[in-house]
Amino acid sequence: MYDFDIEKPGSIADAVKALGGEEAQALGGGQTLIPTLKQRLASPTMLVSLAGLSEMVGICKDDAGRLCIGGATPHVAVAADGSYPGLSGLASHIGDPAVRNRGTIGGSLANNDPSACYPAAALGSGATIVTNAREIAADDYFQGMFETALNEGEIITEVKFPIPEASNYQKFVQPASRFALVGVFVAKYADGVRVAVTGASEGGVFRWTAAEEALSANFSADAVAGLDAPSGDGMINDLHGSGDYRAHLVKVMTGRAVSAAT
């Protein structure tokens, strides 16, 4: 680890100001950033800790009935909430207890690891990512592996999830890291079904539109069984699974998520 200073701002406004400094880096729960620093793979001169910002911690519902989760809320709180069962189920299986107690939803979405769980929930729910500057629809937010619509120094203050009629997340773990080798989030809303896939694609989290169409017409595992698996082209091919295997798992996990949701 290289030497760095740490700032603990008391408000979002102060945090934004601190992040305007040269080589400043936002620190959420630190579950990705701290190991990166320890390996000397990053060298920010200033860390701005968002974990202590009370205005960014907590869960509530807005007037539209959406579940609103503060950006610095740890996974363990989302897991315990229960008002959006598919989302709480997903949060309860991220990492291990240490990760769930420290890691935050804002940190996970800002990092956008292609194998992380939360991006599947946000995209699969059509969530709204709220920052200190604007609101971003999930469909516009995820822009590829570790790429998002966030600007330099922009902070995720809140994430708003419309609560679906039925939902489920199925994760098939990469055996070593236990991140998602393939994770599928399925959510059924009155106006249609959304299916978001993490872990599989070289482009990061994506929506499997063929499955969405089939499931919007008939929300059942049979509807998934009748589909061809997505193409293995563009899927991640590594030590733990070929692109074709991941593509196959997308279909299997989608079917299982639908079965679990119904």
Binding site: M1, Q39, R40, F172, P175, A176, S177, D238, L239, H240, G241, S242, Y245, H248, L249, V252
Partner: protein, 788 residues
């Protein structure tokens, strides 16, 4: 009734109090006054020519004591290899120099190039970034078969090729084996890989060294399974330090599994540097460094052929193996695919003709050496897998085929030069079938099928050669060391006992089980006895712990020394009771005179030895301390039957191990609880190899599985509750305790049982073309096998 104390009792591990409460004293807990910190700069390419190393900027960085390169080690010996194999043409193996720091070339990712020694680790790392190293990358040598082709890039320019040796065993049998295979009713052939593993002890390696310029004494604290061996190898062959000026201490060590047997460059470096900079030098491996610098295990590519007559009687066995040595020869590397592998190819079967060919190959990868089982898992895996395949091809039940070929008469001289003293393979097989409820399998399989899962059962029967090893024999085979063990039993004046053993405990519980043996022999409480190990300054020259040798060889040395103690104590007791020595009996810690009520307590005799006022000084010396060296007459031959029951998810290929049963014959048992723990640990590692662990390189020689993000360790939820039994006992005939050793068995017997179980599950589901899947059986591999 289970005993409360002594041999056969499940005494609680006394070392666990300190281990489980954070009071263990490991090498990294040792901090010496004024110590500096070493940071190793390692190659990030697999193969390259070092054009230049510029340390000038780094030398001027804050806190830097000195930056070392190969230039500082001119005139210093290389890291030695402890075993010289002779090939099938009578030539000795090719043995490259293994410099402490890379000279001219780097040969694997992780090869150390330079070391910064500084006041703090942070300053050392900062300065390391200022060392400018210019390397021209060369084509990496990775595939063993390609490495042996004419014109292949060489790992070592001064060797004639990448071939370390071409070993044939038994060479005289070669033609007869070929002929038997040619004429056989049926030959089953199997090609397989034994996957490369990283040992991953919980405690990474550490070395701390100091030098006293006023006495010329060096002390090295290191994470070693055999500190005396390190003292000999490093002192004599690397740094030229005589033994009386070098003390090597291996304190509490957090797991070894083989990877801490060897003498490593980092130990020699710290010892050398402590003198060079005039202050103690400490190095602690990071986990990332461990992946690229601890010796790896396994990595064999094998073709095996088993010839049978029409009844399934084994007629001949022929194997062709390529064994990866990595870039340099680690301490015992050449012996693993040869003498620890070829000699076990008979397994439990009376196959009359066997020929084993092994080509050991240099590649641009981390050196490969012994890892729990060392050669014997490789032998067992290929043999048990080919027997399983043969059973299918012959239409004979795999258990029946094994039974038809079991060795039943002992001693049994195999065609691969070893003589099994005892065993009862039908007994362990019977026990296994009972433990695993084999009779109920079909019912369980039907249940799985109802749930959409594929259930399979796999079996393996193993033998291993432990209690390593008769020194005269291993000397003939190329070992550059003796493999006896030592013990000093020091009885203190008031009767308590300190035992200095040459064995080293790094998790095995010797402090408990060794004390049980001495307590049992003398009849005193175990609490009266302390076991001291791991310090060349305290005990006699010993050979350390590996190859399941500690109780069989180290324990036997301790028995011999204790016998000497008892004999002398009887003389003292005879004098005190004015009786004839021949009438003295020792029971429950008291000496009596046969046929009388005369008695003298153990403590009175020991006190007399040190306060010899009333003592036969004309006949015997005062004091009560004896040393024994024990050299075994033969290996020991533990064996056992292992059964694995799995369920495969046909949609994803995921394998779930539902049950694992192990029926072992370890000979006599000192502490059943510790033995059970050893088997559990071995099974976890064997299942780890078969199911999840894989050390993989990419086509550039980069380590793909260089951290726990990509190298999978078996976790509790990968494993079933184990069903372990060691009640089938045929005692070893040639050591005083009748023990065989149990440390490696679990890792040896489990991989073939698991793979056979998965193949069985797939075969039952109609995938009749799936006869083998290479380890690890990760979901993607099993899915691909089902799909093919």
């Amino acid at each position: 009734m289970p005993k409360d104390e002594g041999i056969g009792a499940s005494s609680k591990r006394r070392e666990d109090l300190r281990f489980l409460t954070g009071k263990g004293k490991y090498t990294d807990d040792i901090n010496l006054q004024g110590q500096a910190y070493a940071y190793f700069i390692r190659s990030d390419v697999a193969h390259g020519t070092i054009n230049s190393i510029d340390t000038s900027a780094a030398e001027k960085m804050p806190g830097v004591e000195k930056v070392f390169t190969a230039a500082d080690f001119e005139g210093v010996g290389g890291v030695p290899c402890g075993w010289q194999v002779t090939d099938r043409f009578g030539e000795v193996m090719q043995e490259p120099k293994h410099p402490v720091l890379a000279e001219g070339k780097v040969r694997h990712v992780g090869d150390p190039i330079a070391v910064v020694v500084a006041d703090s680790l942070s300053e050392a790392r900062d300065a390391a970034e200022a060392v400018e190293i210019d390397i021209t990358e060369l084509e990496p040598v990775l595939n063993m078969k390609d490495a042996l082709k004419d014109g292949a890039t060489k790992v070592h320019d001064d060797l004639t090729s990448n071939l370390c040796y071409d070993w044939g065993f038994v060479e005289e049998n070669r033609d007869a084996v070929d002929a038997a295979i040619k004429g056989a009713h049926h030959v089953t052939t199997l090609e397989l890989k034994n996957n490369r593993l990283v040992a991953n002890p919980m405690e990474p390696r550490v070395a701390v060294a100091e030098f006293d310029s006023s006495t010329d004494d060096y002390t090295l604290y290191t994470t070693s399974q055999n500190p005396h061996v390190i003292r000999l190898l490093m002192g004599a062959f690397v740094l030229g330090i005589p033994e009386h000026k070098l003390r090597v201490v291996a304190p509490d060590v957090g797991g070894g599994f083989g990877a801490k047997i060897y003498h490593y460059a980092e130990e020699a470096f710290c010892t050398f540097a402590a003198k060079a900079v005039g202050r103690p030098v400490k190095w602690t491996s990071s986990r990332s460094e461990a992946f690229m610098s601890d010796a790896h295990g396994r990595d064999h590519v094998t073709k095996i052929e088993l010839a049978m007559d029409k009844d399934g009687q084994f007629l001949a066995l022929r194997t062709d193996t390529h064994a990866n040595m990595g870039a340099y020869l680690s301490t015992f590397a050449p012996s693993i695919p040869t003498w620890l592998h070829g000699t076990l190819m008979a397994g439990n079967y009376k196959t009359p003709l066997i020929y084993v060919n092994v080509k050991a190959v240099f590649t641009n990868t981390v050196p490969v050496d012994a890892y729990r089982g060392a050669g014997r898992p490789e032998a067992t895996f290929q043999l048990e897998r080919v027997v399983d395949k043969a059973a299918r091809e012959m239409g004979i039940d795999p258990i029946e085929l094994r039974r038809r070929n079991f060795i039943t008469e002992f001693p049994y001289a195999t065609p691969v030069a070893v003589e099994y003293d005892t065993g009862d393979y039908h007994a362990t097989m019977d026990k296994l079938l009972e433990m695993s409820d084999h009779a109920g399998f079909e019912k369980r399989a039907a249940e799985s099928k109802k749930n959409g899962k594929l259930r399979g059962f796999g079996i393996a029967h193993y033998i291993e050669a432990c209690g390593i090893a008769p020194s005269n024999l291993v000397g003939q085979l190329g070992a550059r060391a003796g493999l006896y063990e030592s013990a000093t039993v020091r009885v203190n004046a008031t009767g308590s006992i300190s035992v200095m053993t040459g064995s080293h405990s790094h998790g095995q519980g010797h402090e408990t089980s060794f004390a049980q043996v001495v307590a049992d022999m003398i009849g005193v409480d175990e609490a009266q006895i302390d076991i001291i190990h791991g310090d060349t300054g305290r005990g006699p020259m010993g050979m350390g712990t590996y190859g399941s040798r500690s109780i069989a060889v180290g324990g036997s040395a301790m028995v011999r020394a204790t016998e000497k103690i008892i004999n002398k104590a009887k003389k003292i007791a005879a004098h005190l009771m004015e009786a004839s020595e021949g009438d003295i009996e020792l029971k429950d810690g008291a000496f009596t005179v046969a046929g009388t009520d005369k008695s003298v307590a153990w403590g009175d005799v020991t006190l007399a030895a040190y306060v010899p006022h009333n003592y036969p000084l004309e006949d015997i010396e005062p004091g009560l301390e004896e040393t024994a060296f024990y050299d075994p007459a033969n290996f020991t031959y533990p064996s056992g039957a292992y059964g694995c029951e799995v369920e495969v998810d046909p949609e994803t290929g995921k394998v779930t191990v539902l049950a694992f049963s192990a029926a072992d014959d370890f000979g006599n048992i000192i502490n059943p609880m510790i033995v059970e723990g050893q088997v559990h640990g071995g099974l976890a590692q064997g299942i780890g190899q078969a199911l999840v662990e894989n050390c993989a390189y990419d086509e550039n020689g980069q380590l793909l599985s260089g951290s726990y993000m990509d190298y999978t360790m078996p976790r509790a939820d990968d494993l079933p509750m184990f069903n372990v039994d060691h009640s089938s006992i045929t005692p070893c005939t040639h050591n005083p305790l009748g023990v065989k050793g149990c440390g490696e068995a679990g890792a040896i017997g489990s991989p073939p049982a698991l793979v056979s179980a998965v193949v069985d599950a797939l075969q039952r589901a109609g995938h009749t073309d799936v006869t083998h899947i290479d380890m690890p059986l990760t979901p993607d591999r099993v899915w691909a096998a089902m799909k093919s």
